[in-house]
Symmetry: C2
């Protein structure tokens, strides 16, 4: 593999997931930055060539091969490695957490962080304002579910790091930037420390 | 494999996906129904044993092995079969569509269908009402993106049915129950016909 290009917006947890996966695997990534606040992923060129869905991250594998969706890009990088369980049930169970992350965690924890840290609460639309309490509640419920799961385990799926831990780490470790407190979730905090202590770990700012 | 149990609510497209995958693979499923409108997936027994997230579908693999998240359950069933591409990029590209389905399609097309057909527009909460126009618009955008993609292809990822087609078929073929018109999307309609014409196809009501 060579010349992999990550089309990204660096502070996005979805983009960080891919960089963190690549770091654990020792795969170099060329990085191309887009300012999502300036609409740089909604240009005709981006929509036509990189991703018709107008979103980052997109992992570019070759001249014409583009892979949107953060967790699919992580799976591509990790395919065949120990970051994906080799047992059939455990592999599907890892995917379960990746889907759960995108459905129950990211739309709440990441969205509230984005609204607070980038858009600004004072600039939210009426619909966003109406959704805020529900997203705060659902984000806290997601963190509580993680905490309960981690009470009995060191890692999400098997006895070592997998993509499930990487994907969930990305927005959980910055949840306080969205106003979520991690104080009520000691098992989550201990797991965050375990992830960050791994030899090849890189921070979101790297 | 034997004694697989699908914990489900039959009219849910997420549950249908799993039945459709199993039908294509010739895998028998024992089915256990829960009335989500009566809160049967929020009981202490369900939350404690089947899924702490309080949602169906859940595919039960063994006495203590439960697999939530529809697309993860489909992946478990299809792992190693031709429903999942054998090429690394194509496999990740299939997952891309599965993640896109859960992030961009299901929360819009399926949710509006559920609100219209099960909850009733007149019973929506204020927050749901505030979200309705955005979900209608995002659902139509998802259908338009599918149509553009299918203009140049018969199937979503490779030259035959994969889990991407099954997952996207589930709620697309009943989108009109949510008030979405499929008339503007001829490539989607032709693809729906191709999926339904496959030898082992079963309808959502089966």
């Amino acid at each position: 593999m060579s010349a992999l290009v990550l089309h990204e917006y660096a502070p996005s947890g979805n983009c960080y997931k891919i960089r963190l996966t690549a770091a654990h695997l020792g795969i170099p990534l060329e990085r191309r930055n887009y300012d999502i606040l300036k609409g740089e992923t909604r240009t005709a060129a981006f929509l036509g060539q990189v991703n018709a869905n107008g979103r980052i991250p997109v992992l570019q594998i070759g001249p014409d091969d583009f892979l949107p969706e953060s967790n699919a890009a992580c799976f591509y990088l990790a395919d065949g490695s120990d970051l994906i369980p080799h047992d059939r049930f455990e592999r599907a169970d890892m995917l379960r957490w990746l889907f759960w992350e995108q459905y129950n965690h990211e739309p709440n924890v990441a969205t509230v962080r984005f609204w607070k840290g980038w858009v600004g609460f004072e600039n939210l639309s009426d619909v966003q304002r109406a959704n805020l309490p529900g997203k705060q509640e659902a984000g806290a419920a997601a963190l509580a579910l993680m905490d309960e799961h981690l009470e009995r385990r060191d890692w999400f799926v098997i006895d070592r790091l997998t993509l499930a831990d990487i994907a969930l780490y990305a927005y959980t470790h910055v949840a306080e930037e969205g106003g979520f407190s991690l104080t009520p979730y000691p098992a989550v905090r201990a797991w965050l420390d375990r992830v960050a202590a791994l030899p090849r770990h890189i921070p979101i700012t790297a």
